[in-house]
């Protein structure tokens, strides 16, 4: 009872302190958080309209039945999988510069997972029936449906990427060493799990024989290759920001190592894309219609053509920037390359992947899909929510990592209070 009381007290103190941590910061921090909050609120208002009337309020139709939401979902799952690119060097190769920052990377993966799950939730027509998806309570179509696998995989990955960093941070908060025998299996599990979530998402598309654009064996490797480009790219940028606003020291060598890994992934990505393009264009069957729509335009429908070529240009440029050591090791070109990759892979893997799968549709109809204002606002809202969650997590995790925020503070405080009370009680007795 005594220890439970103490635990509750300590936990309450912890939460109080985290609230103080997240509510105090520089002006830039306040500006960032409030602007994100504003975007979130606008997004929510638009989502409510969609919830009331139905998905009619989006621009999706029977012909193109998945749009911006699922495009963003695909991209974000890839980003989340990229945390493994930090986990492998940190824990398997004990690469010290990365080992210090891997917890932050895992929290980033968790925020991406939250965003991905939210994107699926706003895409559902009947969110109020979500409980049908739960295993045992609902009627999950487990081995057959890839969406069921995806639900399990994504939630499992979210759990891992919250459990591991929280465990490590709590240990760090208490100044204790983590029990590696306990936590290392989870960490090692998260590596194949990360590969798994993105493979399952790829298989979701891959298994549809009705859509020849997606029914290519090369899809899962392509997904992994592009995931391992985009996620680390945004991690590089985030770590530079963290380096600037906090006391965490992230060595340049860590960033450059990650950039090197991105270079290899981008090569693989471009190679696999080239292989697909060769197969479609050389054999020249009817099934290349979707590729034609994407890269050239089909029957005067060419909405996506400028976008995909911009993405190709950005990807190739970024690849060169990352490959050449001198540009890789200069922060300005490194950041430029990262930006190119983030946008380029988003186009290639988001709209440039989901939409051509539906054009032309199985009966040959071509309908061009362009997201409308509501979809854009809801998407921005979800991205803002993910960024806000990540910011708040960082606001707590970084002080724990640097040792600023630790249990010793609390203990010191308690001891001080105890001695003050004792002194006061002495005075009372004397009176």
């Amino acid at each position: 009872m005594e220890s439970l009381q103490r635990l509750l007290r300590e936990t309450w103190h912890f939460y109080k302190k985290t609230l103080i941590l997240v509510s105090r910061g520089s002006n830039i921090y306040y500006a960032w958080c409030f602007s994100l909050l504003a975007i979130i609120i606008v997004g929510f208002i638009f989502y409510w309209k969609q919830h009331e009337i139905g998905l009619l309020e989006t621009n999706m139709t029977d012909q193109v039945s998945w749009g911006l939401y699922i495009a963003n979902f695909t991209y974000l799952v890839g980003m989340a999988a990229a945390a493994v690119l930090l986990v492998i060097p940190a824990y398997i190769y004990q690469f010290k510069p990365i080992k210090e920052i891997v917890v932050l990377g895992e929290l980033f993966a968790a925020s991406c997972m939250v965003m991905a799950i939210l994107f699926v939730m706003v895409d559902l027509g009947r969110l109020d029936r979500f409980w049908h998806m739960l295993p045992f309570i609902g009627s999950m179509n487990f081995p057959a449906s890839l969406l069921a696998w995806d639900v399990l995989a994504l939630n499992g990955y979210l759990f891992l990427n919250l459990f591991i960093p929280i465990y490590l941070l709590v240990k760090s908060y208490y100044g204790k060493k983590p029990n590696w025998k306990f936590i290392l299996p989870f960490i090692l599990l998260s590596i194949p799990w990360a590969v798994g979530i993105h493979t399952v998402t790829a298989f979701l598309y891959n298994g549809l024989s009705a859509r020849p654009f997606w029914n290519a064996s090369i899809l899962a490797p392509r997904f992994l290759a592009s995931a391992f480009c985009s996620g680390p790219a945004i991690i590089i940028i985030i770590f530079q920001i963290i380096r600037r606003v906090s006391a965490i020291k992230i060595e340049d060598s860590a960033l450059f190592k990650v950039a090197e890994l991105i270079a290899y992934s981008m090569f693989l990505n471009l190679f696999l894309l080239g292989a697909e393009i060769f197969k479609e264009y050389y054999s020249g069957t009817v099934h290349m219609a979707s590729f034609k729509y994407l890269f050239e335009g089909l029957h005067h429908h060419n909405e996506l053509v400028p976008w995909i070529w911009a993405a190709m240009a950005m990807n190739v440029t970024a690849f060169i920037l990352f490959l050449v050591p001198s540009t890789r090791k200069r922060l300005s070109t490194l950041n430029l390359g990262c930006l190119f990759i983030i946008v380029g892979v988003w186009i290639e893997k988001g709209p440039g992947f989901v939409i051509p799968g539906f054009v032309p549709d199985p009966l040959g109809e071509i309908h061009e899909y362009v997201p409308n204002l509501l979809e854009l606002m809801v998407s921005f809202g979800i991205w803002a929510l993910g960024l806000l969650i990540f910011t708040l997590l960082m606001k707590v995790a970084i002080p724990i990592e640097t040792g600023e925020f630790s249990h010793t503070d609390y203990e010191r405080g308690v001891l001080t209070k105890k001695s003050m009370d004792y002194t006061a009680s002495l005075y009372k007795i004397k009176k």
């Binding site: 009381q5 012909q63 998945w66 559902l124 049908h132 179509n141 057959a144 890839l146 969406l147």
Partner: protein, 301 residues
């Protein structure tokens, strides 16, 4: 003493937080008991006979309110020893679309604003039957058939190996014993994975609340077939499940002015569809996808 203060304060805090959480649940969920019942309604295949009757009674009441007509909602099961097959004679289809609108009228689909059709008639140039990419869906000539074209109506093919059933994450769509692929509209969450998976574009989605005028409803419905649907549920041709399980031809078969549409029981050697398969040259769309469709297209001889 200070310890007691802590525990009391923290206890009050914890209590208020849980109270807020507890109150918000019923506030967030709908207010009425019927809506709560709707929320918790089971999957059709898991309902007992009594539960089904309760649900049917609730729906009949609701439809009476909404449309002012007494609905007859059947939950008739599949007849024994039946496997429905459909035949369509391409040499006779003239592309008049009477089947499309007969189906819409029979099956209470949304119309006018938010129009939904279960049948789509494609116009193909003569010389091409398989490459559907060159099809025209929106032809609107003065008269049909037009010279140099043939017409190919497509609807849900009631595959024996349905990709849509495979991919549905919650078993909201399944294949009945008589071969009809059905949807439990109250179970569907609207993820539209089945629409992405169908190679024939047989399934359509209610993007909003369906628009069905009161004076155009058909009150003879089946729970798994043509009862009026709700927003964000997937729907498709059900071979007029409300008709065929009583031995009647589907609405499209009766509407076709050239008699191009044929229907029957594949397990009955004397049925029309068996006659067609045994004597005519039949083919099915996208046979290479192994969907084992039950929709046989054929020509005169």
């Amino acid at each position: 003493m200070s310890n007691k203060n802590y525990t009391r304060r923290e206890f009050i805090r914890n209590l208020s937080v849980t109270a807020l959480a507890g109150l918000s649940l019923p506030l967030l969920s709908s207010c009425s008991r019927e809506e709560a019942e709707d929320f918790l309604q089971k999957h059709f295949l898991e309902m007992t006979g009594e539960e089904k009757e309760r649900v049917i009674a609730k729906l009949e009441r609701r439809y009476l309110e909404q449309y002012g007509r007494k609905f007859q909602i059947s939950t008739q099961e599949a007849l024994p020893e039946t496997l429905w097959g459909y035949g369509l004679e391409l040499s006779r289809c003239v592309g008049c679309r009477r089947c499309v609108y007969a189906c819409a009228n029979e099956n209470n689909t949304s119309r006018y604003a938010r129009q939904l059709h279960w049948i789509r008639v494609l116009r193909l140039k003569r010389g091409n039957l398989i490459n559907l990419e060159d099809s025209e869906h929106y032809y609107a000539p003065e008269t049909v058939p037009e010279k140099g074209f043939i017409y190919l109506p497509v609807q849900c093919q009631q595959c024996q190996n349905p990709p849509c059933v495979k991919v549905c994450p919650i078993h909201a769509t399944w294949q009945e014993p008589d071969g009809i692929v059905v949807v439990d509209y109250n179970w569907c969450i609207g993820c539209r994975y089945c629409i992405a998976a169908c190679p024939y574009k047989g399934r359509v989605f209610n993007w909003a609340e369906p628009n069905l005028p009161k004076d155009e409803v058909n009150p003879n419905v089946h729970y798994l077939g043509n009862r009026p649907r709700m927003k964000c549920a997937v729907e498709k041709c059900t071979f007029c499940i409300q008709r065929v399980r009583q031995g009647r031809y589907p609405a499209c078969v009766e509407a076709c002015p050239t008699g191009s549409r044929k229907f029957g029981n594949l397990l009955d050697p004397k049925s029309e569809i068996r006659y067609i398969i045994e004597r005519k040259r039949v083919f099915r769309l996208r046979e290479e996808l192994n969907t084992e469709s039950r929709f046989y297209y054929f020509f005169e001889s």
